[in-house]
Amino acid sequence: MPGATDQFDLKDVRAGKADPEYVDLLRRVLAIQSDCEIGGPHLYVDTMLPEAPLKMDRLVVARTSAEEIDHFRKFAAIGGDLGVDVSYILSRNNPERYLEAFRGTITTWEDFAVFGFLIDRVGRYQLEEFMGCSYAPLAAVVEHPSRVMDEEAGHIDYGTTRTAELAAMGGEQRERIQRSVDFWYVTGLDMFGSATSKRAERYRHYGLKRRTNEEARRQYIAEVDPLIRQMGLVVPDPNKGRKFV
């Protein structure tokens, strides 16, 4: 029987070589990741595809959505191989999504920009957890030659650039983008989960994740706070409005 952090392949899991708890955690993380990938387009396609400021921006909304749908497809395929059908996620209503960040609707260009800047960046942290993880097909989705991480980096760069541009306009525009940062910053911090999560420890035990929730959150704060200040914006209170600490 392989150890807790050996790397498994599909045939190992199908042959019963993995602990049932491991398989259950794997299925769960695939369902959540699938939900997060398709959750983004569900937030902004209806509103931003027709209402983004420029035609080029609308094309970026379409391209971003295409890439997120493709990421969903890849995680859904891994789940499907493990006997998990996540197709119900495609039609669920936003309020039913696993993470709070995907339960509303994005109705302003400021929110779309900051979503890319802050929330897609949290998504990159979540995906980084799978690099070299103990389930080989999952690791392969985020490792070279897969384009998933590059595509996520593109979403983050686009959101960061648009956020900086809007902040640089000053006046009311700056106030609007600050309000978006205020909202998404704490939402993003909560996405890392509770610092005392027992399940997160089990993910690490089995090599499905590397960092603790709090480690990842601290690294994220260290990355984004300077960026927010460079834009001339105010870093929100990291404890105000938080649901998971």
Partner: protein
């Protein structure tokens, strides 16, 4: 022991085709920005049509399996 879900392959194929069509439309739209604005408007309409289908999530209309979709949902 378990097998892949019946929906795994057809869903993968359907979404792969949608993504391919979306990328093709976006690329045409970007080219149109320089030379043919009407083409960009058309490709944006194409993107909307494709994305509306995926966002509606009517999986049973996209694919057909003996067991039907979403019977083994993991929630």
């Amino acid at each position: 022991m378990f097998d892949a879900t019946p929906i795994r392959e057809p869903l993968d194929e359907f979404l792969r085709e949608v993504v391919r069509a979306l990328h093709a439309a976006v690329n045409r739209g970007i080219q149109g920005l320089r030379s043919d604005p009407a083409e960009t408007d058309k490709t944006l309409a194409d993107c909307k049509e494709l994305l509306d289908v995926v966002m509606a999530g009517h999986v049973s209309e996209w694919i057909a399996t003996d067991e039907g979709p979403a019977k083994q949902a993991y929630r």
